[in-house]
C-alpha cells in the first residue's frame, strides 16, 4: 500500500458515460491482486472532500487501469483527466479474491460496472491455469469482449443482445444444463444481483466470493465507515475496505 502522485497515461470513454483511466504506477501494477481497489483523490481541493474508490481493472506494463461510470461530481472530474496530469492515488487496497485454491473452474459473474475488475481477475486466473466461464451484463461487454475474456456469455434483460434475462438467471441456466466440476463463483455487481447470486451459490452448494461496495471515507481501515454485517464472526460487522471487499457469500449479510 502506498500513496503516490501517479501520472495519467490515458482516459477514454469506452461506452456511453463509462471511462477507462490508466495511470503509471509500477508498484500498484505489480502488487495489485484481483478484487483490490485504489482510492483516488479526484481533485486537490476540499470539495468533493473524500477520495473515491475504484477496483483495479487491469495492470499492464507498470500501469494500472480503473473503469468507472460517471454518476456524480467525483467521477465527472475524473472523466476529465488528461494524459500527463497527476493523480493522488492510494493503493492497492483491500483483501483480494482468493483466486488460487479450492476450485478448478471459475465462474465469473459481473453485472453493470461490476465488470470493472473482471480483466485483472481473468489474468490472474489464467496464470493459475484455471478454467474460466464469464457471465456479463451487456452494457460494457463491447469494451471487455476484445480483452482476454474466456467463454463469454452475455445477458440483457430485454434480450436485445446476448441472452435474455438477468446475469444470475444465465448462470443458473448454465449450471442446470452443464456439468461444472469444482466450480467457484466470483461475483461483482449491484447488491440485488449479488443477493440473487449468493442465493444461487448457496442452493447449489458452490463456493462464492462477492466483491462488495459501500460508502468509504478512508479505504484503509481507520474510519470504521464501511461495515458489512457478518455471520459467525468475532464481531457483528467487518470492514469492507480492509477485510473485504472480497467476502465469502456465506459470511456476510447483504444489506437490503
Amino acid at each position: 500500500m502506498l500513496q503516490e502522485q501517479a501520472i495519467v497515461e490515458e482516459c477514454r470513454e469506452i461506452a456511453e458515460g463509462i471511462y477507462a483511466l490508466r495511470f503509471r504506477s509500477p508498484l500498484i501494477a505489480k502488487q495489485a491482486r484481483p478484487g483490490q481497489f485504489v482510492n483516488i483523490r479526484v481533485d486537490e481541493g476540499i470539495d468533493p472532500l473524500l477520495r473515491r474508490p475504484f477496483s483495479v481493472s487491469r495492470t499492464v506494463d507498470g500501469t494500472a487501469e480503473v473503469v468507472f461510470n460517471v454518476v456524480g461530481v467525483g467521477t465527472r472530474i475524473l472523466s476529465e483527466k488528461r494524459a500527463g496530469e497527476f493523480l493522488d492515488i492510494l493503493g492497492p487496497l483491500g483483501h483480494p479474491w482468493e483466486y488460487t485454491t479450492g476450485f478448478d473452474i471459475a465462474l465469473i459473474v459481473a453485472g453493470g460496472l461490476g465488470v470493472a475488475p473482471v480483466p485483472i481477475l481473468t489474468d490472474f486466473l489464467l496464470r493459475e491455469e484455471k478454467n474460466i466461464i464469464t457471465f456479463l451484463g451487456a452494457r460494457t461487454s463491447s469494451w471487455v469482449a476484445p480483452l482476454n475474456m474466456k467463454n463469454l456469455h452475455i445477458a440483457t434483460e430485454d434480450g436485445s443482445k446476448g441472452l435474455r434475462g438477468t446475469v444470475v438467471e444465465l448462470v443458473s441456466d448454465y449450471l442446470s444444463s452443464h456439468n461444472v466440476e469444482r466450480p467457484k463463483i466470483f461475483g461483482c455487481g449491484p447488491t440485488r444481483m449479488m443477493k440473487a447470486l449468493s442465493d444461487l451459490a448457496i442452493s447449489k452448494d458452490i463456493p462464492c466470493e462477492l466483491l462488495l461496495e459501500g460508502e468509504m471515507a478512508c479505504g484503509i481501515g481507520i474510519c470504521q465507515g464501511c461495515p458489512v454485517e457478518v455471520v459467525n464472526g468475532e464481531k457483528r460487522y467487518e470492514l469492507i475496505c480492509t477485510q473485504g471487499p472480497a467476502f465469502d457469500c456465506r459470511h456476510i449479510i447483504l444489506p437490503s
Binding site: 472532500l49 479505504g219 464501511c226
Partner: protein, 314 residues
C-alpha cells in the same frame, strides 16, 4: 533549533500536531503511509469497557466540504486494546493519548483504571459526546454538571494528563471549559463533531442509519475556530484545537486563536501524510518568521477585542 515540544502536566510531547480520535484507528493501520514518530502524538479511537459493534451502515456521507459520520463508537474494547494494540504503540516514539468513551460515569472510571498502570499510555482524552444511559441517552457532553462530574471522578484516578474533549453542540462552550478546568482537567480538546444530517431525496431516507450524525471536515473549521477562541479566552489550561484542519495555514489559525496544539481529523482520510506535513510546515513557518518556539504563536491573534462584542449583531 526551533522548539516544537510542549508539556502537559508531566508529559512532554515532541510537537504540537496530533491525529484526532476516530480518524487514525488504533495507530497501526496507516503505518506504511505516515511516520507517526514525527507527530506530537496519536489519539486513539474511543475505547469503551466492552467492545462495541457500532451502528449499521450507512455510517458515512459526504457533505459540502465535509462529511457526516455515525460510526457508533465501534471499538474493540479496552482489554483487547491493551492486549493487541498497546504493545505496538509502545514501540513508537510518539505520544499516545488514549481516548475513552462510556455510557456511565462508572464506565469512564473503569476504562481509565484498567489502562492506568499499563506502560505506553501517556495521557487520556475523555470523549463526553456519549449517551448517558441513566438519563435516557442524553449526551453527557451537553450537560455541564455531568461533564464536570466525569472530570471530578476521573481526576483522582490518575497522575497522567487528563484532557476533556468538548462538544460544540452547546450554547456556551466556555462554561463547560471552565467547569472541567475547575474539576482538575489538564487540557480541553475543542471540538468534537457538530450534529448534522442529510437526506436521500430519491428514497426519502436519511443518508445515515442513525438519522443524524456528526459533521466534520473543512466545512466546520470556522465554527471550530470560534469555539477554540471562546474557550481559550475563558480558561488557562491548554486547548487542543480540532476541526477541519487541512493545511499548515489552518493549523496556524488554530494556534493563533489560542490552541496550544492541534489535532488533524477527517483530513487523515484524504491525505494520511497531512499531519506530518503540518508538523514540518509549522517548523518552516517558525523559521521564516524567526520564532524560536512554535509556542510563541499560541494566542498571538491580533484582535481588537472591543469590536468582538459586536458579534451578536450579525
Amino acid at each position: 533549533m526551533i522548539k516544537t515540544s510542549f508539556k502537559l502536566r508531566n508529559v512532554e510531547f515532541k510537537n504540537r500536531v496530533f491525529v484526532a480520535s476516530g480518524t487514525f484507528g488504533y495507530g497501526d493501520e496507516a503505518k506504511d503511509l505516515v511516520d507517526v514518530n514525527k507527530l506530537g502524538g496519536i489519539v486513539t479511537k474511543s475505547l469503551s469497557w466492552k467492545p462495541r459493534d457500532g451502528n449499521p451502515p450507512p455510517r458515512i456521507v459526504e457533505t459540502p466540504s465535509g462529511m457526516l459520520n455515525s460510526i457508533g463508537l465501534a471499538n474493540i474494547g479496552v482489554k483487547k486494546f491493551i492486549a493487541d494494540k498497546l504493545p505496538y504503540l509502545r514501540t513508537l516514539d510518539t505520544g499516545i493519548i488514549v481516548n475513552i468513551a462510556a455510557s456511565s460515569v462508572q464506565e469512564y472510571c473503569d476504562v481509565l483504571q484498567e489502562l492506568d498502570d499499563k506502560e505506553g499510555v501517556d495521557a487520556y482524552e475523555i470523549n463526553v459526546s456519549c449517551p448517558n444511559v441513566k438519563e435516557g441517552g442524553l449526551s453527557f457532553g451537553t450537560d455541564c454538571d455531568m461533564t464536570k462530574e466525569i472530570t471530578e471522578r476521573l481526576r483522582p484516578l490518575t497522575a497522567k494528563p487528563l484532557i476533556i474533549k468538548l462538544t460544540p453542540n452547546v450554547t456556551h462552550i466556555s462554561d463547560f471549559a471552565r467547569a472541567v478546568e475547575e474539576a482538575g482537567a489538564d487540557a480541553v480538546s475543542v471540538i468534537n463533531t457538530v450534529v448534522g444530517m442529510a437526506v436521500d431525496v430519491k428514497t426519502k431516507k436519511p443518508k445515515l442509519s442513525t438519522v443524524t450524525g456528526g459533521l466534520s471536515g473543512p466545512a466546520i473549521k470556522p465554527i471550530a475556530l470560534a469555539k477554540v477562541y471562546e474557550v481559550a479566552q475563558a480558561v488557562k489550561i491548554p486547548v487542543f484545537g480540532i476541526g477541519g484542519i487541512s493545511s499548515v495555514e489552518d493549523a496556524l489559525e488554530f494556534l493563533l486563536v489560542g490552541a496550544s496544539a492541534v489535532q488533524v481529523g477527517t483530513l487523515n482520510f484524504v491525505d494520511p501524510a497531512l499531519s506530518v506535513k503540518i508538523a514540518e510546515g509549522l517548523v518552516q513557518h517558525a523559521e521564516q518568521n524567526k520564532l524560536s518556539d512554535i509556542g510563541q504563536l499560541v494566542g498571538a491573534l491580533d484582535a481588537n477585542v472591543e469590536f468582538s462584542v459586536l458579534q451578536s449583531w450579525l
